[in-house]
Symmetry: D2
Subunit: 399 residues, 4 copies
Amino acid sequence: MPDQSDERERGGRRTVNVALVGHGFMGAAHSQAWRTVAHAFDVDPVPRMAVLCGRDRGNAAAAAARWGWAASADDWRAVVADPAVDVVDICTPSRSHAEIAAAALAAGKHVLCEKPLANTVAEAARLAGAARIAAARSGAVALLGFNYRRVPAVALARGLVEHGRLGRVRHVRARYLQDWLADPHTPLTWRLDAAEAGSGALGDIGSHIIDLAQYLTGHRITDVFGCTHTFTTERPGADGTPGPVTVDDAAVLTARMANGALATFEVSRAATGRKNSLRIEIDGTDGALAFDLERLNELEFLDATAPRGEQGFRTLLATEPDHPYLAAWWPPGHVLGWEHTFTHQARDLLTAIGQGTGAAPDFTDGLGVQLVLDAALRSAASGTWQHVPDTPPDPGSPT
Amino acid sequence: MPDQSDERERGGRRTVNVALVGHGFMGAAHSQAWRTVAHAFDVDPVPRMAVLCGRDRGNAAAAAARWGWAASADDWRAVVADPAVDVVDICTPSRSHAEIAAAALAAGKHVLCEKPLANTVAEAARLAGAARIAAARSGAVALLGFNYRRVPAVALARGLVEHGRLGRVRHVRARYLQDWLADPHTPLTWRLDAAEAGSGALGDIGSHIIDLAQYLTGHRITDVFGCTHTFTTERPGADGTPGPVTVDDAAVLTARMANGALATFEVSRAATGRKNSLRIEIDGTDGALAFDLERLNELEFLDATAPRGEQGFRTLLATEPDHPYLAAWWPPGHVLGWEHTFTHQARDLLTAIGQGTGAAPDFTDGLGVQLVLDAALRSAASGTWQHVPDTPPDPGSPT
Amino acid sequence: MPDQSDERERGGRRTVNVALVGHGFMGAAHSQAWRTVAHAFDVDPVPRMAVLCGRDRGNAAAAAARWGWAASADDWRAVVADPAVDVVDICTPSRSHAEIAAAALAAGKHVLCEKPLANTVAEAARLAGAARIAAARSGAVALLGFNYRRVPAVALARGLVEHGRLGRVRHVRARYLQDWLADPHTPLTWRLDAAEAGSGALGDIGSHIIDLAQYLTGHRITDVFGCTHTFTTERPGADGTPGPVTVDDAAVLTARMANGALATFEVSRAATGRKNSLRIEIDGTDGALAFDLERLNELEFLDATAPRGEQGFRTLLATEPDHPYLAAWWPPGHVLGWEHTFTHQARDLLTAIGQGTGAAPDFTDGLGVQLVLDAALRSAASGTWQHVPDTPPDPGSPT
Amino acid sequence: MPDQSDERERGGRRTVNVALVGHGFMGAAHSQAWRTVAHAFDVDPVPRMAVLCGRDRGNAAAAAARWGWAASADDWRAVVADPAVDVVDICTPSRSHAEIAAAALAAGKHVLCEKPLANTVAEAARLAGAARIAAARSGAVALLGFNYRRVPAVALARGLVEHGRLGRVRHVRARYLQDWLADPHTPLTWRLDAAEAGSGALGDIGSHIIDLAQYLTGHRITDVFGCTHTFTTERPGADGTPGPVTVDDAAVLTARMANGALATFEVSRAATGRKNSLRIEIDGTDGALAFDLERLNELEFLDATAPRGEQGFRTLLATEPDHPYLAAWWPPGHVLGWEHTFTHQARDLLTAIGQGTGAAPDFTDGLGVQLVLDAALRSAASGTWQHVPDTPPDPGSPT
């Protein structure tokens, strides 16, 4: 065998040990990202896939072996407390996000937490406060996993809005449609149990489009009217006995944004034929854009300052070297897949760690989304508009 | 010159004299339809473009000459009273619909009335009652101009729903977006004056998608939440002096339908880049469909009863001979335009007259749409859900 | 009845008597155009639908009655000789184009001739010469029915090329696909008999895309390689007995253009699922465009002089008032259909007559297309490249 | 730190040592695949990224470090001879494919070779023979890198054709368009030098669509007519001095296939606005399909056996669990990227190694493509049709 390659080839870059907690579908996607990021981007520090943690020792070990983690563990508290661990990546079900993230921040770790940040506003607020304190104290970076901000076409869209290419934003229309619950015979899972899942389609996929709307426009949602619905209220359980569905299948929101824009949101898990149809359109006085996750390499952009006869939505294939994240990848026209949103997320987290800066979306952004979801649910219950409080400028000391 | 062609060639078909009241944009479109219908379809009776009526004698005469009407007039009351007139086609601004239609029905005429039926529920209810009485008394046909029902692809969609191809309908999402008010400097017109126009985008274009939602699904909207918005509240008047805009630029509705479906509606005149973007999607347990007016020859249809790996939205080009209305037109793939919705409407009206049957949408359907619009406006004012009363089965005697 | 409208309302415009020869599918489309043109455009002269001529007296009379012609006839020679006839519109099968058109030109009539101009180069050359002589002698206008030049989006495309927006044209790729012969059991018709039809898909629909390629780029095809194919060589005749198919089902051409561009053409009547799929793409050094007849209101345009990261094909909805032909029609977004190409053609012919100018495409353009088709067939027979002679600058005296 | 994960967790699967030769763009893509494959698929054997080999020691070491190879080397002969190496993956420029692949096969290695297999038919034939002998002797697997067969939508398309869903194939139209040479000022590279690159667009990207046409239909190309073109014959060299371009910028082929189908191919590097636009359409008597690499998760399929009024191209989003390769990836609608074709290729190679079977496309398939390219070039030179010899059933002994 020829010369061994060497970490020194990496040019003196530091290494951080990453611990992944949780190994479901999201764990797989995060693993792929951690495995890939340093091979595509010049990150500093470089991540080391140190340990994967799950509740069941055997399952965790199997997942660790399959996905390339150096070790496995079954006690997240020990992992979070381990001085060798630098970054805690939380991919557990949402009800445990708050506890794990709080512990990790308290232990001085950098944290990447899957969305939603928490199941309640109170938890989210505590976490946002904890993250601010940790940042101030130890420079810990806390990043929330709204990965769709890292689709290159979405980042490109944000740049266009930021540079004023849309003028004043008037309309946002966003939807996230899936169909895995369209069939009334699909059985119950923990995701359909409010106690476990916190909420249904609204919290799960609605949070993505609320974040995108606020991110892309740069404006908060201030008022919301919500309507939730469950088409199939009873489904067969594991033993065949019917059990109740206690979360929403679908939700519709009408919202007003701080700049006067009017926004609409629709989410559903019963939208037949729509697999993962996140679509967002933004109209401004000087331009408009549209994005569809099922064609995630494309951004439709209309420049309304062009001569009227030459206006039209143009399809930007977001694979040019000067498009966000693309310099690291393939030549133009060689499209990326969904998974690289996580690779880009890992890159941005590592960059923030390396440069000692904050990263966005942070936990305060997550709290902001949570406040909208909470207002939406209150609205759905009351049948009236609800105001969305601004995220507290100074949360005081978290518990 | 060779042999003169002869009405007798038309095979003994009757003729009806049509009077058109109003000669704006809609008058032009209706004229094109009346001029065309008997040359494309085997209608019986055959229409004769007898007289065009407008308030200004000179303008009316010019429009009549241009569009091929045999005569012109400036007093609609005289036209409606003229025993030689069989059909009154009302294309005036909406505030005069009720008076003219009522007079025409009272005079025993068949009536085609542009949408919306009226500016208020009360007027609409009176007209619906009057139409029922006239139908019973003299067999008069009253048809409301929701012409988009006559897009072949839309009629094809209705057939698919009717034959159960979508299963149980769960979602309707409809929008009608235009951008002619996106520019804040666009001047005032009567359409932006509530006293003249009755309402803004909601009444004007919202009525179309509300009708389509009810028509395509076969279900009524029972409850509605509405939100209206005016982005530009002041615009330059004819003399350059700014004046107030008193109607909505945009509106968003959330609705529940009688069968439990959840429906959303958005209309805007400030949706930059969207010229005439009426789009409606319907999802059911067994299938889904989507239609876009800017590509009106196409219907997207997904059959969810196909093997899962072979499901996908298919684009039906609604130009086959067995598609609605198409046998009269060109070979497959030779697409139709927007204007033929009016030709088809004229055909269906003539057929109803000839066969002595009713036609749809009738004035009761128009009242149904008006009731939804009215509930939406009440909801927008109150910030709460509003129930939509069912159309009265027996309206009592109209005034 | 009120005041009779009056020709004088038309403002002193002249009238021309139009005679239509032939009443198949094309006759129907032309009739719709003649019926419509003066009601949409301010044409001068105004056409009068004087007489429709067909070989069978009864059929001609029925068609005349149905389509609104004042009279019918069964002897085209008499019609062409009739001093009252000003314009002869030839919609017969292609083998009779030459004889009728020559007679009409000789009689001093304006001529609109359906494509292809003739079945042979010799005939086409004679007609082109005759048209030049007639133009010089009597100002007769001769227009060839390449109607797709009159699709607004196509005319818009031509304008973009003409204004240099594509830079130097390098690639043309054009196709015209249909599927009405995909089924091997479809019976024989005269269109599948070389003696009757002259040629198959190549002549029938290939002529359209060859004309478009030359028109849109402004350059001639100089050399061509052709390949023709018949998938189904025998089909059931009227009596069920199989008979031979003697024309091509499909053809493929490779061509070089005068400016060095490389062009490809494909036509087929056996392209399953393609109803009327004429698609043409043109790439130049500074831009590119694409057009599809099944979405004929749209033009895709890419401006390669924009910053690289903002380049993309934009969809121009060719329904703006400043787009070609559109000022006469409906508001933006209210789309046109296939038939409007004939209305625009009628308008342009009438304008040329009124202004005493020539019209394009003229018979020399038709000869140019015929020369390409002829070279393609010679190439297909010889298996070698064939040069396309330029249209003769001075054809000498036609017979 | 918790328990170390262990190779034993991999369930007793074997490991193969992979050597990558070449580290350009293709090397990066292959590295990503080797790094990923065992984490997504249950491959047996499992690959070990043993050594990356390049001509320059420093560059090779840097690339090895960046992409995760355990070691680097600068002498491919030594690497190929190393008994520890099991698989040789050849990503060098095409002129060295033959020599390296022949040596690797002679040394009993499994070989993955990037396309094209070689620069000449003679080399390709020798390699095909060598591969057959090696397979017989040692069970060596030789796979050619036509990675687009491994796009899930393409594999799905192949399945549809194989199951007769298209009936008899009549038309193939394929194109592969890029625009990186559209600008005449783009400088010279080795790729534009015939001595280095063998050929231009035809060999580079044309080989992909020729392979796809033969693979998807299951039929060989028997006769071909070719035309090549160079738009820009002189470009600035490294020092600014103009130098000649000696390969084609674009090529067009017309071809006949063994089953009577007619096929067309177009490739270009000067197709403005087209980044990586590989598009292939196949029409058969019973159905049709279309695929576009820029939307590689989608397959358009039309079933012509459906009732005529319900036929239309449906968009299959190839992300369902029962679609090829998808069970290993994400939930429906979570799209894959271009790079995954290489991961799937690695999987299929490993599976073939593990199961002791052959893999496709093998070197004989590569020879088949080479024979078509060669015939196309001869045709372009002679201006006449050229027959494509069938791949020799028994090549005799390779040198």
